[in-house]
């Protein structure tokens, strides 16, 4: 199978959805003439023009809110946040308007919008540009939160998110944009295109001794940790990728834990009420009798993102740390 980057996979998803539905448009800072701050939208303005790919001023509350309003009337905007950290500038629109207007209207309105962009630390840009708000937005009923780890998932989940009739906040990772992975060509697929449903986790590596459960780039960290565990310690770890945080595929997680009897949740999010807290709670409630050890959580060290490059590497989970913590319960 061909290999393309996470960035190219996203670009293909956008291009295909622009072609499929004339109500799909892309709005964001530098998405058009500049070709995207991270080049995710490269070439799309040239191909689709001013109506479909729109450069917005630096005005997140304004243009995200505008996209929400347009979506109420049937447009399907894909909004790019140059950094998901800037969602905090548009927080009222994203939490109060996108998430609740359906409910408060008794189901008369829906908001088929996607807000996407990188939501990660680890790039030495300081705390303001390194937020990981997946737990914050997943806390809000009415919203869906997706966090793909691989090029294939990035493409399939983005296409599905654009077709979803609820607001989807799609959280990418700048450290993954250049990573390559296998992504099928459309003519290799039975349905002629790649769609991955929200709410379906995937076992990225099968194993028998321990479940490493993660979302986003932490999945890649877990895969590396699993290699070390196997090679150096003879431990056969399973790696489960949530892919979508809300809706959540609990069954795949529980199935893994029932098999391995040990679970570690790994994420780059902050620990307090992080995604791992939700998963750990769910596991102890629904798989208590299967557990041979406490459920562990590995997350960012609990401070705002530090700038200093060597220290930021240590602030986020890294394979050796996952190995060390995993060994403590094996």
């Amino acid at each position: 199978m061909r290999e393309i980057t996470y960035r190219q996979a996203l670009n293909e998803a956008l291009d295909e959805e622009l072609a499929r539905d004339e109500n799909v448009c892309i709005i964001g800072e530098e998405v058009a003439q500049y070709n995207g701050a991270y080049k995710v939208t490269e070439g799309l303005w040239d191909k689709w023009g001013d109506k479909r790919v729109i450069d917005a001023p630096i005005s997140e509350a304004g243009f995200i809110g505008m996209g929400i309003g347009a979506s109420m009337l049937g447009i399907r905007p894909v909004m790019e946040l140059m950094f998901f950290s800037f969602a905090y500038v548009a927080f009222d629109q994203m939490m109060n308007n996108a998430a609740t207007v359906r409910y408060m209207s008794g189901g008369l309105i829906n908001v088929p919008i996607v807000v996407r962009g990188p939501a990660n630390g680890g790039t030495n840009v300081g705390a303001t540009h390194s937020h990981t708000p997946e737990n914050i937005f997943a806390n809000m009923p009415g919203l869906k939160v997706v966090s793909p780890a691989t090029p294939r998932d990035a493409k399939g989940l983005l296409k599905q998110s654009i077709r979803d009739n609820d607001p989807v906040y799609f959280m990418e990772n700048t450290l993954l944009y250049g990573e390559k992975g296998p992504v099928p060509e459309n003519d290799e697929l039975p349905d002629g295109e790649l769609l991955i449903p929200l709410g379906k986790a995937e076992v990225k590596k099968e194993g028998a001794d321990l479940s490493l459960i993660a979302h986003g780039r932490a999945v890649i960290t877990c895969l590396k940790a699993a290699e070390i565990l196997q090679a150096e310690h003879g431990i056969d770890a399973e790696v489960v990728d949530l892919r979508s945080i809300r809706p959540l595929d609990e069954e795949t997680i529980l199935e893994s834990v029932r098999k391995t009897n040990r679970a570690v949740y790994v994420e780059e999010n902050k620990p307090f009420c992080g995604v791992g807290a939700q998963i750990a709670s769910m596991i102890q409630e629904q798989a208590f009798d299967y557990l041979d050890a406490p459920v562990l959580r590995i997350s960012s060290i609990d401070s705002p993102a530090i700038y200093s490059p060597p220290l930021e590497k240590k602030q986020l989970p890294y394979p050796e740390l996952v190995v060390e913590r995993a060994l403590s319960i094996c």
Binding site: G107, L108, K200
Partner: protein
């Protein structure tokens, strides 16, 4: 150039403006009836609120009726409405029934939002009415978005996006203004200036008071106007200019309509008669009441009599009381309905709605 906030001129005969000259006697009576129905709806809802029949806040529109009625009376098939939390008047003006509006206040399943929105969150998309929004100025980017959608679809229409005078200092509003002018969006921001952002007067909240609030549009190169809200003919004539601009040029406008609310910011506003004098309120009620002035106008035109008006008030009061009875007799939503209307995909039982866990209680 910025105009100084002028005393409202009375020498223009707005009755002769084409948009008013075409009104039949029945049309004029209908405008009066709409204002009367809003006032009676509000007084009856106040009565039951004070009896403890409703929760939350109740932001009454009494005194401002001419704004919603006058502007919305100009709307056509592709014109859309969105407003803030003082939304009952707009709801009735777009044709929502008193029953669904009153039942919403009582938190009943027969309410326009099935009892899920409350007073501040009325919606009727089938009537181009997009709420009903609780956060000050939060609706202003949405209004730009409705206009964006009209333009994107190539429809000749506009969005009337209402806000209070307190909303003009929110950042979201200024971002929306910039986008509206930058992208030529057919949106009309209608500032309903009742003089007070909750308990803080305009002079104590908004800089540069001598030029008024709409004039800030000039910073964005946008057209603006300032309208005397007590004169329904003027409201209609001058709002039509903005609508024509949106329809024909695809361009936005800010209009500021001077008006007054007789009641507090909400009924819970304990200081409604402290931050302004009783005399001030009484002066507006006696001399500037838009409903009385329109009635007097129609009496002078020989379109209605005082007796007609009294009958109309009585009829509207009865309609509002009937709506209150309807609301009281309606059921509260069932507990099982708490989880309805959160996700479209779940409500519609789609494959996406049945994939993964959506609720975590």
């Amino acid at each position: 150039m910025a105009k100084k906030k002028a005393e409202h001129q009375t020498d223009t005969d707005y009755a002769q403006d084409p948009v008013n000259a075409k009104l039949s006697a029945e049309d004029k009576i209908d405008l009066l009836r709409q204002m009367v129905r809003i006032r009676r709806f509000e007084t009856v809802s106040l009565k039951y609120y004070q009896q403890g029949k409703m929760g939350g806040f109740l932001h009454l529109y009494i005194g401002q009726e001419s704004v919603a009625v006058g502007t919305i009376s100009l709307c056509g098939e592709n014109d859309h409405i969105i407003t803030a939390y003082r939304d009952h008047g707009h709801a009735l003006s777009v044709g929502m029934s008193m029953n669904e509006c009153m039942a919403e206040l009582f938190g009943k399943k027969t309410g326009c939002s099935k009892g899920k929105g409350g007073s501040m969150h009325y919606f009727a998309p089938d009537k181009n009415y997009w709420g009903g929004h609780g956060i000050v100025a939060g609706q202003t980017p949405l209004g730009a978005g409705l206009a964006f959608a009209l333009k994107y679809k190539g429809l000749k229409g506009c969005c009337l996006c209402y806000l209070g005078d307190g909303a003009v200092n929110q950042g979201a509003y200024h971002e929306a203004l910039n986008l509206a002018e930058l992208w030529d969006l057919p949106v009309i921001y209608v500032i309903e200036n009742n003089g007070y952002s909750m308990g803080t007067s305009q002079e104590r909240s908004s800089a540069h008071p001598e030029i008024g609030l709409a004039a800030r549009a000039e910073a964005y190169g946008m057209e603006w106007d300032q309208i005397n809200g007590e004169n329904l003919y003027e409201v209609r004539a001058r709002t039509q200019v903005a609508i024509d601009r949106a329809h024909n040029e695809g361009r936005p406008t800010v209009i500021e309509i001077d008006t007054y609310r007789y009641k507090g910011h909400s009924v819970a506003d304990a200081n409604a008669e402290k931050y302004r004098t009783k005399e001030e309120i009484q002066k507006y009620m006696n001399e500037h009441d838009p409903l009385t002035l329109w009635k007097d106008q129609l009496v002078s035109e020989g379109v209605v009599t005082e007796d007609d008006f009294k009958a109309m008030m009585k009829e509207a009061g009865e309609e509002a009381e009937a709506a209150a009875r309807f609301a009281q007799q309606s059921d509260f939503p069932d507990e099982s309905e708490i989880l309805d209307d959160v996700y479209w995909e779940v409500d519609n039982d789609t494959e996406a709605g049945n994939t993964g866990r959506h609720f975590f209680h």
